[in-house]
Amino acid sequence: MTATADIPPETPLDHRLDLLGRGAVRMLAHLPGPVRRVRVEAGDVRVEVEWDAGPAARGSAASGDPVQDDGAQHGVPARNGGGPDAGPAWNDGGPNGGPAWNGAAREGGGAARGVSAAPRRGVAPHLVGAPSVGVFYRAEAPGAKSFVEVGDNVAKGAQLGIVEAMKLMIPVVADRNGRLAEILVADSTSVEFGQPLFELADPDS
């Protein structure tokens, strides 16, 4: 099955990959069968997961095409590994143990490759990015209560955080209604323009 994540076009590749990796991991948790293959693309955003569909489908539609990881890494600038703070490590999927690039293809068993245009609920993250380069804060002031916590339902226009750039406090605002699924950046962290800060899921109905 595939999902198209709602990632702003200006999101840098490294963040995209990280997010896609997380998306893939989340999808794996919901699979009806054991995973056979994971494919992550960052160019036009794509997460693809193949799983064993159980006895009914076994033996049909074995895809057998080789697992490739070039889709994921295509277009990623060859980085120059300059020093400890020279950006992300490209191929380790970041702190969340990101995607397994060479999806563990299991022996035996046919593959059912569900391709649905409609993303699963909760699988296609909606991201709220940093309005400026600066320092991200979750609260109005040190020690104050955070604007939001994971699980909160937020309305469009609600303030989620602050990015401070040269003593200017720039609010981070929800651009749609939703439930706060994840806060992607720790308090007091330096962020770049457009870097995803919050993930909104569909609001609880």
Binding site: P12, G83, S132, M166, E192
Partner: protein, 456 residues
């Protein structure tokens, strides 16, 4: 020397500065806008920071974003390149506040030289010849008109905060003065955020000659010779060369010495350029001083063997000048052609697009400074400069031959892409240029002869 330099610029100059940093063992931090996310500098740098969306006001001209990027990268210096914030005293001041070294002159020196009327007064005080005109900007059209009459027509009305050919207007007839004055004031206010203008005598048939200087923090200053930038279209330089051809060496030596005197009188620090006009009687007149590395700096590098960006960084790091005047020995002749993504057939309108084909010249004594590569999409929002082709040869004739050869090897094409390559070749074949008898009107002459169908 610095540990990390943040380059607050884009395009070819960002790469040029990054290369100098690499050679000096300095870590490179780059900034980029959304439109530049696939640019070469983001790959080349040790760290690249996304500072905002495409429009320069929200990214490369956004002081807060640049300052945050400096903080994030741990930079101990900011190199501003040319254009953008390179001559913004506010950036130099913000750097002081942050405890980061600004690679350029002190903010007060930049402020004084950035006001063209103040710069004229300063240089006149230092004994340099300055064209007759206002000593300070005047907002009163009547007084300005009286001054214009006293100076003698034609006059040029210039924005005090102008540069790069913006905010100027030539007036030949006293009857047109009032309207031109009001229009220039209004456009300077709109374009530059500063409506102050001043009046200066306008010279016809002049050569535009500028001098590269280097000054350290300890009152030492040298020049690296002159560059001739007379090949211009609407005050935009197209081709630059050194030495200035067809002018007496004695005159040029005096001009070079005057430039050092003026720079030291201004308290200048770093690499700077003083621009002069040389009239048909071979008198020179100070025009303005630029407080940054210039687009055409490679011409001087080819002639002298001095890496100007290295020198900028050394001076900014507090080192005394490593060169004495007698150590600077210009040899041979160098020419630079600026190749722009513009369509000469349509009034040099920007013609950006995707460079599906991009072949660069090579061979002995040819240097190409570019940020483009095959497949690169030239962003429409920025400067149209694609590449600078620079050649060196033992004399001017051989340099022209080498440049013709290099331009013939240059090939850039793609949907929507037009370049000025062919036009540059027509300049190099123009008899007035090859005979070094040209002046700043040479391009207008070539274009006029083209449109009338006569060979130029």
């Amino acid at each position: 020397m610095f540990r990390t330099v943040l380059i607050a610029n884009r395009g070819e100059i960002a790469l040029r500065v990054a290369r100098a940093c690499r050679e000096l063992g300095i870590r490179v931090a780059a900034v980029y806008s959304t439109d530049d996310r696939d640019s070469e500098i983001t790959r080349y740098a040790d760290q690249a920071i996304h500072i905002g969306p495409g429009p320069v006001r929200r990214s490369y001209l956004n002081l807060a974003a640049i300052a945050e990027a400096a903080r994030m990268s741990g930079a101990d210096a900011i190199h501003p390149g040319y254009g953008l914030l390179s001559e913004d005293p506010d950036l130099a001041e913000v750097c002081e506040d942050l405890g980061v070294t600004f690679v350029g002159p002190p903010p007060d020196v930049m402020r004084r030289l950035g006001d063209k009327a103040a710069a004229r007064a300063l240089m006149r005080g230092a004994g340099l010849p300055v064209l007759p005109g206002s000593d300070e900007p005047d907002a009163d059209p009547r007084r300005a008109a009286d001054l214009a009459a006293a100076v003698g027509y034609p006059v040029i009305i210039k924005a005090a905060a102008g540069g790069g050919g913006r905010g100027m207007c030539v007036v030949r007839d006293p009857g047109d003065f009032d309207r031109a004055f009001r229009e220039t004031t209004a456009s300077a206010q709109a374009l530059l955020g500063d409506g102050r203008v001043y009046v200066e005598r306008y010279l016809e048939s002049v050569r535009h000659v500028e001098v590269q200087v280097l000054c350290d923090r300890y009152g030492n200053g040298i020049h690296l010779g002159e560059r001739d930038c007379s090949v211009q279209r609407r005050h935009q330089k197209i081709l630059e060369e050194a030495p200035a051809p067809g002018l007496p060496r004695e005159l040029l030596d005096r001009l070079n010495r005057a430039a050092v005197t003026g720079a030291l009188a201004a308290g200048y620090v770093g690499a700077g350029t003083l621009e002069f006009l040389v009239d048909p009687e071979h008198r020179f007149h100070f025009m303005e001083m630029n407080c940054r590395i210039q687009v055409e700096h490679p011409v001087t590098e080819m002639l002298t063997g001095v890496d100007l960006v290295h020198e900028q960084l050394r001076i900014a790091a507090g080192e005394p000048l490593s060169l004495r005047q007698e150590d600077v020995v210009p040899r041979g002749a160098a020419i630079e052609c600026r190749i722009n993504a513009e369509d000469p057939e349509r009034g040099f309108a920007p013609a950006p697009g995707t460079l599906t084909e991009f072949d660069l010249p090579a061979g002995p004594f040819v240097r190409v400074d570019t940020h483009c590569r095959p497949g690169y999409r030239v962003p429409p929002a920025y400067d149209s400069l694609l590449a600078k082709v620079v050649v060196w040869a033992p004399d001017r004739d051989r340099a022209m031959a080498r440049m013709r050869r290099a331009l013939a090897e240059f090939h850039a094409a793609g949907p929507g892409v037009h370049t000025t390559t062919e036009f540059l070749r027509s300049v190099l074949d123009h008899p007035a240029f090859t005979g070094a008898e040209h002046d700043t009107s040479v391009v207008a002459g070539i274009l006029a002869s083209r449109s009338s169908g006569h060979p130029g």
